[in-house]
Structure formats: C-alpha cells, structure tokens
Amino acid sequence: MKQLLILSGKGGTGKTTIASAFIRFSDPEAFADCDVDAPNLHLVTRQGSVSNKKNYYGLPRAKIDVTKCIKCDICRQNCRFDAILLDGTYKVDTFACEGCGVCEVLCPANAITSKPAVDGELLLYEKDKNIFSTAQLKMGSGTSGLLVTEVKKQMKEAKPDAGFAIIDGSPGIGCPVIASLSGVDMVLIVAEPSLSGISDMKRIIETADKFGIKTAVCVNKSDINMENTEKIKELCKKEKISFMGEIPFDPEAVNAVNKGITIAAIDCISGKAAKKVYEETAKLIFEKGDEKK
C-alpha cells in the first residue's frame, strides 16, 4: 500500500482542501482523517454509509474509593501529573490523569482502581468498495496520538490490499503528527507564503526527516505574498526537497468548501492548480525503484 500523508506544520494552510481534491482526482481505495481533535475531511468528501462505528477507549483513569481511602497522601505526593486533588476528600482530576497507574500500585489501602474511559469514536465509511477511516476525539480527552494510530489501523484492516491511500493529517509536530507519520511512503507539506508558514514548514520538514520519511512541498494561496512563495521555492531547491507546484488564492475555494464539495468538483483556478500538484505528487510517490513494503 502506497500511503500519502498530507501535513503542514501550521494550521489552516489548506491540508483538508488539498486532501479532498486529491481524493476526487485519484479515487483511492482507502483514505483517512488523522486530525482527530479537529476532523473536517468528512465535510467535503462523499463517504457513503457508515459500515462500522465503535467507541475508542484510551488509557483507563484512576478512581478513588473514598470509603477505603485512609488519607495517607501517598498518591498525591507521587502523581507526576498533579492529577490527585485534595478538597476534604481525595479525588482524581480526570482531565489531568494520564492513566499511568502509579497511584493504584502505591495505595496501601487498595482504594484506587482504574476505570476504562471512552475517549472518542472511530468511524468507518464504505462506498463503492472504497473505505474512509476517521474518528472524533471526545472533548476533555487528551490522548490524540493513540487515536491516530487506531484510525490508521482501522484503515489498513478494512482494506489491507489497497494500492493507494491518502491520509489527511493534523497541524503541529507533536504526538498526533508523529503517530500519523509511521509507515507512510511520502509526506506532502502544504505550505503558506507567510513568515509564520515558512517557520512552521521548516519544523515539520525537520520532524519528518528525523523519522526518515520523504517530503515534498506545495504552496497554497501562493499569490497572497509572492515574495514569500519565492522564498519557499528557493528553500526547497537549497534543501533538495521536491517542489510540487503552487495553488493561488481563490474565493471559489471557500464557496466550494461551504457547499460541502471539493475544489476538484467545480471549474475553478484552485482546482486546476491542485490537479497539477496532484499529478506531480503521484509521479513522485509511484516512482520506480522506491518500492517499500
């Protein structure tokens, strides 16, 4: 399975807009949304009907039985996440608890147990033999990295022999991004021609490099600041990163998104430019002599 992951470092550069266009162009057998704490891909793709829906359980949270608690304070002193609160009685701050189990194992009165907690929902859609794997993290649950791994696992299990998969990622460079990087063949970085966008792009390239994953770059809303677009192109040339093309700012793109359709479904300048970027990207990911897995 060739897996293309779309990332950006900075948020709001157009990952989902580009991912949804690519999905329309290539009609892949599998695609996924790994931006589990702010998923949007389902809003602009025709995903068919839900074929599987299940709760996602993250790590269990500690729970203190106040009738057994002897108020020795050992749990509070040893919790590295400041998740044990003392307010007359001892209780657990479930937002802060990471479920490590230290308090449970140290409690001399056996007053602490671990309770499984629903931390989100995993969804699998199916349409014309194509599948779409996505999820939604429950508000107040922190563990987005683990859920990202579940989304990818669900995608692979539902379509183990898919030739091509497109994965929409999340902003940033931390755990959900690192979880989404594992096992992909290539990362397409959607950059934005702003100084913030350039700074963030450098950090995501560095992150992907650390995990040994090939990167390529495209620029979205390129004419917002042509000078910065040129800077990005120069940077790619200098760092020997493949440049896939640029997509101009297009008010039609906002209109398309707000109608729940991709820019690839209407006749517009951003859609045409995205097509070219897609063709370049496809060429690169299916390059010969780069067979993996």
Binding site: K10, G11, A38, L59, F95, C100, G172, E192, S196, N228
Partner: protein, 293 residues
C-alpha cells in the same frame, strides 16, 4: 474572602488552525498598556516572529525519564508489566527504555526491586523570554521529534503564576487535545477565534464544547468576517454565544500578517480596531468575574 486580582488571564483558541489566534493575541497584547504574551503553541510558535523581542533569555525544559543499569537488572519484568505506555521491553536478557514514548510517570523506578532503574533528565525544548516595547514575551518551543509539549506549557505557567500587575494573553495551539487543555486550564476567560467556513464552524463547535466542559467564560471573535453570510456568526446566534467583535476580511491585513508585522504598531486604523476589541474583552471579563463571585 476573594482576593482582589488586578490583572486578567485570557486564552485565545480556535480548534481549527489558521483562523487568526496569533493575529488576535499578538495585537491585543500590543494594544495593551503593558502586557504579557505567552506562546503556548509550542509545536509551532509564531508570536516571536511578530514581536522580534530583545534581551532574550533562554532556558532549557527537561523531563525525567528512566535509565537502566543492566548489571543490576535481574529480568523480573515488573517494570515492563507495569508500564501502560509500553515504554519498556525486556529482550534477550536486556531491558530497553523507549524514551520517546515514556510519559515520565516514574512508576518503573518506584517498582524496581533491584534498584536497576534510575532517573535522568532529558531536554525536550526551551522557553525564550524577551521584551518588545511594552510587551513581555514567553515563548515555549518544543524540539522537533519530541511528542509532548505539555511539560513546556506547565513550565510557562509556573514562571508566570505570580504576575499580577499585567494582563496575560495566551496564544493556544490548534485543536482541542491535551496541549490545548493545559493552555486554558488557568485562564480567567477564553476568546474563541472563528472563521467563516464550515470547517471553522465544525471546529468552533468542538472548542465551544471544551470551554463549556472546563466551565470557562468565553466569547467569540469572528475573523475574516463575511458580511453577506458568515456561517460562524450564524452558529453564535443560534447558540446564544457572545460575539466580542468582527474583524472584516481584509487583504491588506492579510499581507501585514504574512510579513509577520504587528498590525496595531504599523497602522492607526488597526490600532483603533484592536483597542476597541480589547476594551470589549476587558468589560466582558469584569462582568463574568463579578457574576462568578
């Protein structure tokens, strides 16, 4: 008796990336007489690009992780069985620690009967302090390849907890996961920055849920506001959410922002807009704090 507080702590968040969190928090801080700006988007911090602070001071942030002495390890696997993050493995008569998935709970060290595990510090990033005119900056920066910025955010708030004479503006990361929860935890008030797309509305809905769950008073700023039809405005009206202000879609402002220039410091028009927005926010915070006590 409730202690009189002279300052307010305002967190700026959005769910979706690229809606204008940094634009809003940087310009509100710059419009204040004196202010603290804290960049909690430690994965992709950008505020410092705008403020270009002087007198920079850097301090490393580290976490504590276990280190194994295999001469003392007797292979009992107590640590391996305990670790819920699977950060330890006993393979071919040797114990291995996987630094990057360790959550620093300390459980393995506490449990080891042979004292074969000790703890060492591992640097994960830094905090940079600096001054830009009347604004004092704290920037958190996670090293690339590191998974969690939460310890850096904790350290940012530890450093600033005693400040009581300046208003504090917290620039949050995108999304709604652990790093966002940590960033809003101690805030007196939350500003949600929305954009007029269905992506924006969907993610606004998520952070709306999050701030409600955290019982934080909040209001919305409609950025890139579209007069004819703004889906985020409709969402606010429907849910009776306080709209603090509207920043009209403006190419010139977008250009300034892409060049990392602070709008209120470059143009009188924007100074007026953000000063009036700041007044509205302050009034709201006072109202909310008054009704709380």
């Amino acid at each position: 008796m409730i202690m009189e507080k002279n300052n307010m702590k305002i967190a700026v968040l959005s769910g979706k990336g690229g809606t204008g969190k940094t634009l809003v928090s940087v310009n509100l801080a710059a419009a204040s007489e004196k202010a603290i700006y804290i960049d909690c988007d430690v994965e992709e911090p950008n505020g410092h690009l705008f403020f270009k602070p002087d007198d920079k001071k850097e301090k490393e942030v580290s976490v504590i992780i276990p280190e194994v002495n295999n001469d003392l390890c007797n292979g009992c696997r107590k640590c391996v069985d305990f670790c819920r993050f699977n950060a330890l493995a006993y393979i071919k008569n040797r114990l291995f620690v996987f630094d990057e998935i360790c959550h620093s709970c300390g459980g393995c060290v506490m449990l080891c009967p042979q004292n074969a595990l000790t703890e060492r510090k591992k640097s994960i990033g830094k905090i940079i302090e600096g001054v830009s005119e009347q604004v004092y900056l704290y920037t958190g920066m996670l090293d690339t390849g590191e998974a969690s910025g939460v310890p850096i955010i904790k350290e940012l708030f530890q450093k600033t907890k005693d400040i009581s004479d300046k208003d504090i503006f917290i620039d949050c990361p995108p999304g709604s996961a652990c790093v966002v929860m940590e960033s809003i935890k101690d805030a007196d008030y939350c500003i949600l920055v929305a954009e007029p797309t269905i992506f924006g509305v969907h993610n606004l809905n998520l952070v709306y849920e999050l701030v409600t769950l955290f019982k934080k008073p909040f209001g919305v700023i409609l950025n890139k506001y579209m007069e004819e039809k703004d889906p985020s405005e409709e969402f606010c009206i429907e849910n009776k959410i306080k709209i603090l202000g509207k920043i009209k879609f403006d190419k010139a402002l977008g250009k300034l922002n892409s060049e990392a220039q602070i709008a209120v410091r470059t143009n009188e028009k924007y100074k007026v807009i953000f000063t009036s927005l700041l007044e509205t926010v302050k009034k709201e915070v006072r109202n909310e704090t008054a009704s709380d006590s």
